[in-house]
Symmetry: C2
Subunit: 345 residues, 2 copies
DNA sequence: ACATTTTTGATTTACGTACATCAAAAATTC
DNA sequence: GAATTTTTGATGTACGTAAATCAAAAATGT
């Protein structure tokens, strides 16, 4: 049987109350006694039964998730994962509120962060826009003793406790290698389509992609970045113009959202096979395009993993516990038409 | 506040004891009363506090893991994940025993399954060898009311409760697409190196790979399968002979283990760049080879995920609860040199 | 209407921890 | 050595559920 507080008390020759004082470092214990108890804990290999402790404490964790609004499929998927977590909140002792904000809007985000602050939650998860005033707002939350985790897009220098997202430079590099090898023999320029350079994740992906293309596939000319604001309509217009302009285009790396427009534009020109297309995030649209062959590879971050990881980290930080960073690493998934997961409800 | 058994009792106008009888379907409740209680449960949205219930029950789960012995890096990694789970057993209320067996040995496996049976655990996880007598032994476990999950390699037709592993046909197909596209312009034959056709996962991978090569890259000649028994020494000998025999070899798909030998043989001939190599399982050896460029891509199954999933499923089955299959799906990870996770301790 | 069976209520103990209170003992100060 | 402060013990209640016991009530059979 695993040892309990009673066993410690017996072993150390002290009362239950004293064990309790040591375990929850309450005052009023001589250091000699404290040592005795701690030795007993060590030799018995006692570990606190967290379930019982939480039950006794009636502990619960109010969290706020700040997510971009709009019809970006990935973000909607992320939101539905947060809602799934809300459904589990009873058993996980969490209390989650979602705060929607306009995308790519630093001002709105600052305001949302301040609203989150007023709710006095134990932690906040936020999809960050990379701006100094946002970093400042995050700092204030942390000064108020609220744990902050950035989600999907990071905000270094803000003092956030943790980033729950992928290594986007590595993602860009991966896309670069796939692009270089998939376009193999062919010459022809490569285009990069981003959402906005205002968010860190897009900038990082571009950096990684450009680096690999320059280092290893320098025979391909890299066209200037196109910014589509993650808007399918705008993206379709821009990509269509691009293909008209560059008839021997070899590849497109779409590192943001708006894949619906990308796919529509490519399919309109009938160059599905000629152009190697690599995109991000597995959504119903990118999945269909992958299956049909219009998109050749999709790099994905598992929104469910990100949300669950963010919650685990927020809980740990709220309790002042350490996080095993390696365990919370979010993988870059690579999907080809052959390894698509079965469609979920 | 979330409702408790007391609230249900009050709402339904019955006693606590009756609520308990309904919740744990004990006998001695009229169906009218049962209905009243169930309506109260539904309207209040009551969900049992699992932590409190487990505390009260003193529930724990004795499990047996049957793993192949030997110096196969992937299997050793799997074992260390099981040991990590054992370290967590206090908080997860599990009691795990590891039973090692010789690899690819159906007789030994049958004996291990019978030994596992005698321990009367709540569940067994087993890396299966695909043989009728093994399936029979699994059936007997299940008849004895013990939950069985196959790990890594499946055993369909054995009546096992669940398979915790990847879709190996899809993995083979993915390898096929990568091989076809990476070898792009080049002609030259492609070799397949397996461990043993006695295990299901190797057979499935071969099936998927062959299918894609035939469907989409039929210009490449596929050489007869080489069986290396997952033994680095044998593998090195066989691969070296292969490269000597086939001077314009374009690619090698290694769908089993023994990557150490594979890498050594290729590096010995100096054809690292000429031969496109795709292997399975991220181990220290394959990782180094990926980084150096000898291996072009590694398909991986996350051993940690598999073990944790197996335990979750075994618990659910032991309690007679349903499993959300989609949630327990194990992904096929694709690693290139660019998206290698940081090395763990 | 009686005996019998089934159903329900009331109450208690337990799981392992947290937390509060009050008294007793020990250590410290003067 | 007395007064004071600090440390420790003893005890009880709580968290939400499980499980057991025994008595009371209701339903059923004859």
């Amino acid at each position: 049987m695993r040892p309990t507080v009673h066993d410690i008390a017996a072993k150390a020759g002290v009362s239950l109350a004293t064990v309790d004082r040591v375990l929850n470092n309450r005052p009023g214990v001589r250091s000699v006694t404290r040592d005795k108890v701690e030795r007993a804990i060590a030799t018995l290999g006692y570990v606190r039964d967290v379930a019982a402790a939480n039950l006794a404490k009636g502990r619960n964790y109010p969290f706020v998730f700040i997510l971009p609004a709009g019809d970006n499929s990935f973000m909607r998927g992320l939101e539905s994962e947060v809602r799934a977590a809300m459904a589990r909140s009873a058993s996980e002792r969490t209390q989650i509120t979602i705060l929607p904000v306009p995308a790519f809007d630093a001002q709105a985000l600052v305001q949302a962060l301040s609203e989150a602050h007023q709710r006095r939650p134990a932690g906040v998860a936020v999809v960050a826009v990379d701006a100094p005033e946002v970093a400042e707002a995050v700092k204030q939350l942390r000064d108020g003793g609220i744990a902050v985790v950035t989600l999907v897009s990071d905000l270094p220098g803000s003092g956030r406790d943790h980033f729950a997202g992928v290594d986007n430079v590595a993602a860009g590099r991966t896309a670069g290698t796939l692009m270089g090898r998939f376009t193999g023999g062919r010459a022809g320029p490569i285009a990069v389509l981003a959402g906005s350079m205002l968010v860190r994740d897009h900038r990082d992906r571009l950096e990684g992609f450009s680096a690999v293309m320059a280092e290893e596939f320098s025979s391909h000319r890299l066209l200037p970045v196109i910014e589509g604001q993650d808007d399918p309509v705008l993206v379709e217009k821009l990509v269509h113009a691009l293909i008209e302009r560059e008839p021997d285009l070899a590849g497109i790396y779409s590192l943001g959202a708006g894949n619906r427009g990308l796919v529509a534009a490519i399919e309109r020109t009938g160059k599905n096979k000629a152009i190697c297309t690599i995109a991000h995030e597995l959504t119903p649209h990118s999945r269909a395009a992958l299956r049909s062959g219009t998109i050749d590879a999709v790099l994905n971050q598992d929104a469910g993993h990100e949300v669950r990881s963010a919650i685990r980290v927020l809980k740990a930080k709220a309790d002042g516990l350490a996080v095993i960073e390696a365990q919370e690493r979010i993988r870059i998934d690579i999907f080809l038409k052959d390894n698509l997961p079965i469609e979920q409800a």
